[in-house]
């Protein structure tokens, strides 16, 4: 029986998500694909003893607020903030409509997933470079890097 590794599956999902995002075809789909890829990449990073986005976010929160939030709670919070939950869950008691800032949430979901992907695989693949280029141009990369230079070492990713 043919076999696939989940790292390749996450790459395929992410590559498709970046393509759909840059073409502006379906931000709904970008959110779901980035969310699914993140679910795999998070586990792969933990297995490789590296720091996923979720744990980095928890560490930053602990530095700012003085306490470390739980991992599951943080993951759910991020999925809600990025619109991922609304695109894959629906309970009997949920509202009939949902408020979304689709393009921003799609960009955020992709940024999280691409960050985790780079942590595992580097940033040389064309779809990664394409999204990083989009981010640099649309989010004023130079200004962001100036701000980042002031971030204390304890609040930076562990890869540095």
């Amino acid at each position: 029986m043919p076999t696939f590794h989940k790292s390749d599956i996450a790459r395929s999902q992410l590559e498709t998500a970046v393509d759909i995002f840059l073409k502006g075809l379906s931000y709904h789909s970008v959110i779901t694909l980035a969310g699914a890829a993140s679910g795999i990449l998070d586990g792969l990073l933990l297995a490789a003893s590296k720091e996923p986005f979720i744990d980095y976010a928890r560490r930053v929160h602990a530095e700012l607020q003085g306490q470390m939030p739980g991992r599951v709670k943080t993951a759910h919070y991020i999925e809600q903030r990025f619109g991922i939950s609304a695109h894959k869950h629906l309970h009997e008691t949920d509202t009939e409509t949902v408020e979304l800032d689709l393009e921003r949430q799609a960009a955020n979901a992709l940024t999280k997933a691409i960050g985790d992907y780079i942590e595992l695989n580097g940033q040389e693949e064309p779809f990664v470079k394409a999204f990083l280029q989009w981010s640099w141009v649309t989010m004023d990369g130079q200004a962001l890097m100036k701000k980042y230079a002031e971030v204390p070492p304890k609040m930076r990713p562990k890869t540095e």
Partner: protein
């Protein structure tokens, strides 16, 4: 970038439309399954909320006709999602090896779409172009026979219980709820 209000059906329909488009265009099958699976979670609940039975309920009924046992909706839903790899494509559990075995990726992708489409059609009909495209593709696809169960007997309304009815999508030459 602004906040807008979306119905749950819009969220599901857009994802299913993307899944159909990627499938017809021969693009990544993992993304097709992921999108159709996410859409179907929403659609299945919306069908129930509308007071109708969803595709999983159909499977339960067909299986009960054959075996006399009516399994819970949650159990059957999970079994179908596991069969279609929907859960495997969005999680990596601690201690697992990350290997996914897939007998026929193409079949999984089509089945994931058909399951979601069955629920979508109940809610919104077949008037959208992207829905018509899928059903046109199904009619034109010469390989579709490979999905047919030669023993398949489509149940008629009010008919006596029958045997040899497949319990998994796609169900032979008759796409569900068309």
């Amino acid at each position: 970038m602004t906040t807008k209000t979306y119905t749950r059906l819009q969220l599901a329909a857009d994802q299913l439309r993307a899944a159909v488009s990627l499938f017809i265009a021969g693009r990544d099958r993992f993304s097709v399954i992921t999108l159709a699976g996410a859409a179907d979670v929403i659609l299945s609940r919306l069908v129930l909320n509308s007071g109708q039975e969803n595709f999983t309920d159909d499977i339960i009924k067909r299986e009960a006709l054959r075996t006399g046992i009516e399994r819970p909706r949650q159990e059957v839903g999970k079994a179908v999602n596991d069969m279609l790899l929907i859960n495997a494509l969005k999680h990596f559990d601690k201690g697992e090896d990350g290997i996914v075995e897939i007998d026929d990726l193409e079949e999984c992708a089509l089945a994931a779409i058909l399951k979601a489409m069955a629920n979508y059609v109940v809610l919104a009909g077949k008037k959208e172009d992207w829905v018509k495209v899928l059903f046109f593709w199904i009619k034109q696809n010469p390989d579709l026979k490979k999905y047919c169960d030669p023993n398949c007997i489509e149940p008629k309304p009010e008919a006596e219980p029958q045997t040899n009815i497949p319990v998994t999508p796609p169900s032979g030459s008759n796409p569900p709820r068309t």
